[in-house]
């Protein structure tokens, strides 16, 4: 390793409770006319960012503080490498599917790092460049160092698609799974800043167009199994030979599919006692009988019975909702109401977010869809069924136009409820030649504010320059990258560098982040569920690996607390059983809770 990151501290040295920079070490500056506490990293970045972070003196006196304000700081922060996406005209759907992005803390220095999956640059049928994935290590000053090559995670030359982060081998260090067209890579974290790809030797072989993936303990044996979705059954020769051939609204030829093409089968790998993976797709009841065009995968306990179920967002086919009963799965999506929209139609689903949108304690699902069709909010009802409440929640009209991909529930204004983000961008660059059709290739991301009861308002126009810029967006990951207590956003886009939207909102709310770790430290513990009670309100989060669109969020559970400065109780339900409880917990800190403590 050449970058001098050095080994992380020994596990024993880690404090159980770590105050963060925002409150105690805070330096108060003016942002957009409002007081905000910013750590040194933010200050440095703000100094670099002449576009958006206006000094106090320049602020108009009457300007109200912006509740939401997001600014792209990726160039200054060093997230600069281009993510390639095939040919300029997107001749094949692989050219336009894009790639995922993840937040992780691979070196366990308590600062978030960023992983971005890369594709290929192609002209005609000629491969010009096989893109290298990117691992950016977060520095103390808020910038990032590209450690891809020293870490050994640039990839073996396959066209990358998705990423999922989890401690797959249980050694305390987060490992990285990358799905690609034709292969899987499992980068085992050696704990010294370097990784080794152990996929093939571990039995993770999937010669297909792999897309979303999720780690979960499917059989309750304490280790993490893996579900990998797949999209279209085709060869790279077919991809490279493809030319636009589908008539699009009578105006242009565009990339063909997915209708008219054969779906590829999803796979399920069970981790065995010897650390190898066995293809247990059939055995676990997960055979992809409909060969749906699979994209996003999210593990969640939707029926609240303590084990991990699976949701798979399928493009143009009914979604799958697999209920786990003791390690055997049953597909219940259709009658449970999550396979189709409220009209019974299969949608072109891309990404998924899971969270308790209406504060009733049940995990709802939000699925992003194609252009000229709304994204869908499936509200969970007791008994493990879902209702399409998109229109009632105020999401139908604002989400109808754009073509949406990465998505996340997150409390972006720290008021105690989950807001929604979706990242947009069309798959046909040809759209720009036909403005009369009301679509454009690049589209701004959207932010929907929760009113506290599960109804949303589109506040994108009031969310700062980060939500005003049109992009060919795809992946989205959430995490508090600058350690100031609010949630920032990482986006991937086609043929461009990543985007890092720093949350500069002036929302005054308190917050608490909960890191669920193994007894010896490290993790995170996938499948843990955190329930927080504060100010008479109970919120919950689950810890997942594999989320959004082909990506992974920071696995720590983040809560906005509004005006409440202490949580009455923080309770962690551990996968496999057991609970840890903390009472009277001060806000504005990262609370580490270890299994068994």
């Amino acid at each position: 390793m050449c970058c001098g990151t050095g080994p992380a501290r020994p596990h024993e040295a880690r404090a159980r409770t770590r105050p963060r920079a925002a409150e105690p070490a805070g330096l108060t500056v003016r942002v957009g006319g409002a007081a905000a506490r910013l750590g040194p990293a933010l200050l440095l970045l703000s100094a670099c960012d002449g576009r958006d972070a206006a000094p106090a003196a320049a602020s108009p006196p009457a300007a109200p503080p912006a509740r939401f304000r997001f600014v792209d700081v990726a160039p200054e922060a060093g997230l600069v490498r281009t993510t390639w996406a095939g040919r300029p005209d997107k001749d094949h759907l692989l050219d336009s599917a894009g790639t995922g992005v993840a937040f992780l803390d691979f070196d366990r220095d308590d600062r978030l790092d960023v992983f971005v999956v890369n594709g290929w640059r192609v002209e005609g049928s000629e491969v010009l460049e096989r893109g290298r994935h990117a691992l950016y290590r977060g520095r103390a000053d808020g910038t990032f160092e590209d450690v891809t090559e020293s870490a050994g995670v640039g990839g073996g030359g396959d066209w990358g698609c998705g990423v999922a982060v989890a401690d797959a081998d249980g050694d305390g260090w987060p490992d990285v799974l990358v799905t690609s067209f034709g292969s899987l890579a499992l980068y085992r974290n050696r704990g010294d800043g370097t990784f080794e790809d152990v996929a093939e030797q571990s039995g993770l072989v999937a010669p297909t167009w792999n897309t979303g993936a999720a780690f979960l303990d499917a059989d309750g044996d304490g280790d993490l199994d893996l579900y990998v979705a797949a999209y279209i059954d085709c060869t790279m020769d077919q991809v490279l030979a493809a030319r636009p051939s589908l008539d699009w609204k009578g105006v242009e030829k565009v990339a063909f599919g997915p209708f008219g093409l054969k779906g590829a089968a999803d796979r399920f790998f069970r981790r065995e006692a010897d650390g190898r993976y066995a293809d247990a797709t059939e055995e676990a009841g997960l055979r992809d009988k409909a060969l749906g065009f699979g994209f996003a995968v999210r593990a969640l306990d939707f029926d609240d019975d303590g084990d991990a179920d699976l949701f798979v967002a399928n493009d143009s086919d009914p979604n799958y909702l697999y209920r786990n009963d003791g390690g055997m799965f049953t597909e219940v999506g259709t009658w449970a109401g999550a396979a189709l929209d409220g009209n019974g139609a299969a949608q072109a689903c891309m990404g998924v977010a899971a969270g308790d949108a209406d504060g009733d304690g049940l995990t709802d699902l939000f699925v992003t869809n194609f252009a000229d069709d709304a994204s869908t909010l499936y509200r969970a009802r007791p008994g493990g069924v879902f209702d399409d409440v998109t229109a009632h929640a105020g999401l139908r009209d604002p989400s109808y136009g754009p073509l949406s991909w990465g998505t996340a529930f997150a409390d972006l204004d720290l008021d105690g409820d989950l807001d929604l983000v979706e990242v947009n961008g069309h798959i046909y660059p040809q759209a720009d030649r036909h403005p009369e059709l009301g679509q454009s290739y690049r589209q701004p991301a959207q932010l929907f504010e929760n009113d506290g009861g599960g109804r949303f308002a589109d506040v994108s126009a009031q969310a700062g320059p980060g939500f005003a810029t049109a992009r060919a967006g795809r992946g989205l990951a959430t995490g508090d990258v600058d350690g100031d207590g609010d949630v920032d956003l990482a986006l991937s886009q086609l043929d461009g560098p990543p985007v890092l939207l720093r949350n500069e909102g002036a929302a005054p709310g308190a917050w608490l982040t909960v890191a669920c770790e193994e007894a010896e430290g490290g993790g995170p513990v996938i499948g843990a569920r955190v329930t927080l009670t504060a100010g008479g309100r109970t919120q919950s989060r689950d810890v997942a690996s594999g989320d959004s669109y082909l990506g992974s969020h920071d696995a720590r559970a983040h809560f906005g607390l509004g005006a409440v400065e202490r949580a009455d109780e923080v309770r962690v339900h551990w996968p496999g059983g057991g609970e840890s409880v903390r009472r009277d917990v001060p806000a504005r800190q990262v609370l580490v809770i270890r299994r068994g403590s």
Partner: protein
């Protein structure tokens, strides 16, 4: 669709070549399509139409099988609910919900895979009905409206707490299926 067109074009070209050769070799010139080709095509037409009817019969058989299973299940579920045996009723209700949902989707995911393969090949059983918005793509018997009714009913069945609620949820299934199976 493209493959089908190519095969058809090849066939037509071959048939044309045969017809041309036949015409050139004999005299005087004959303008009528050769009777043998007409007969072949007529047979093919019968086969195509028969296949379409067979598809209809198979899908109806899928529906009839599922509906019969559902009718038996609803009785078991009602009995369990009437007996106050929630533990026994739960799996019956879920099975019934799954069966009713599959009536709405003309079969389970395995059938969906076959339907998808047919669509990939360019086959739309109810092409006109799809254009009119009556049928979802590839559906043979179940209309969009019937599908929605059955899907809504399946969720209501899954959540039924007592026999009365189950009967209320089941009623639209009976009326919808009765209408569909008549056709």
């Amino acid at each position: 669709m493209q493959v089908s067109r190519s095969v058809m074009l090849l066939g037509l070209t071959a048939a044309g070549a045969v017809a041309l050769a036949f015409t050139v070799l004999r005299a005087p010139a004959e303008t009528a399509t050769p009777a043998q080709l007409v007969a072949s095509y007529d047979s093919l037409a019968n086969a195509i139409l028969a296949v379409k009817a067979t598809e209809d019969h198979i899908v109806r058989a899928i529906l009839a099988s599922g509906y019969a299973e559902a009718q038996a299940t609803v009785e078991r579920a009602k009995a369990a609910l009437d007996a106050g045996d929630a533990a026994k009723a739960r799996p019956e209700l879920e099975t019934l919900a799954a069966l009713v949902a599959q009536l709405g989707t003309e079969g389970d995911n395995a059938v969906a895979g076959i339907r998808k393969r047919l669509l990939e090949g360019g086959h739309h059983h109810n092409a006109e009905g799809e254009q009119q918005g009556v049928f979802d793509e590839g559906y043979v018997v179940v209309t969009k409206a019937a599908k929605k009714t059955l899907l809504d009913a399946s969720k209501a069945i899954a959540g039924a707490k007592d026999s009365k609620a189950l009967s209320a949820a089941w009623a639209p299934v009976e009326s919808t299926m009765s209408g569909l199976m008549k056709g």
